[in-house]
Amino acid sequence: MSDGKDGSSSSHSQLSIRCFHELLDSIIADVASECHRVARLGLDRGLDEEEEELRLSEEARASAADPSSSGEVGCKYVVDIFGQTHPAVADEIFECMNCGRPIMAGRFAPHLEKCMGKGRKARQRTTRSSAITRSRNSRGSPVSVYAPYSNSTNSARVPNGTTGGAGEEFSDCAFEAP
């Protein structure tokens, strides 16, 4: 290697080998990094491993639920990224602005459905214009304007639950159908 030209080929090959090893090391590092990630994230580890991990995670969740006293009961609540747990149904109570009753937040939506639709029926009453729009959009099909009609009997094609009031609106729709 002390020679200039004579050693050039061997030093060339030495250099090549060194370069090759460097490339190889970098690829080895890539593979190791990816396998490390797979191992840590628990991906692709075979089914028996996953069952074991499921068991372990169950135990972990149980043991995490015990010391953590966020007021939650049991270990069915999941923990969010801030470490807080939330009950399955939101339990803050406030007043409905429609009827003024104290309502649980998690039950507010179904309550509003009934509450705002109430007068007489469990469902929203349709106005004439919305019914006409509906029949216009669906030509040929019966005008089923929110057939809740819990107490009404449906006639063959036109469910115009005239029983129970607000009859004028529905009878107008009845004209639209046939």
Binding site: M1, S2, S11, H12, S13, L15, S16, I17, R18, C19, F20, H21, E22, L23, L24, D25, S26, I27, I28, A29, D30, V31, A32, S33, E34, C35, H36, V38, A39, R40, G42, R45, E49
Partner: protein, 111 residues
């Protein structure tokens, strides 16, 4: 003074071995600049995937991680696990092809 204990021997003492690492650096820089290094790396990666070398290495890693517990492995450990077997199990054809390409690159930039 020159004889600081932390300093490597001055270049006057060993000239030839000093030059070689520097040459490697130059080669490295040229390879990176011209984009050849990336091409070679991609070529090597492709060949190793084709011949199943990569899958072998991944299997080794998986076995090691399973043995050690998957949360206890570090990347360094995996590298150490793979490297001896990895270097040894490179197919000759792949090695030859890469070496040829590197050498042709070297001659192209030296001349």
């Amino acid at each position: 003074m020159r004889a600081s204990i932390n300093r490597p021997p001055t270049p006057d003492a060993d000239e030839e071995p000093e030059r070689e690492p520097a040459l490697v650096e130059v080669i490295n820089v040229k390879m990176v600049e011209s984009g050849e290094k990336e091409k070679l790396k991609e070529l090597l990666r492709e060949r190793l995937i084709e011949c199943g070398w990569r899958d072998e290495m991944k299997a080794l890693c998986r076995a090691y991680a399973r043995k050690k517990g998957r949360n206890n492995v570090t990347i360094d450990e995996l590298v150490q696990v793979i490297t001896p077997k990895g270097r040894a199990s490179i197919p000759d054809s792949v090695k030859t092809e890469l070496l040829q390409r590197i050498q042709s690159f070297l001659t192209s930039i030296v001349l």
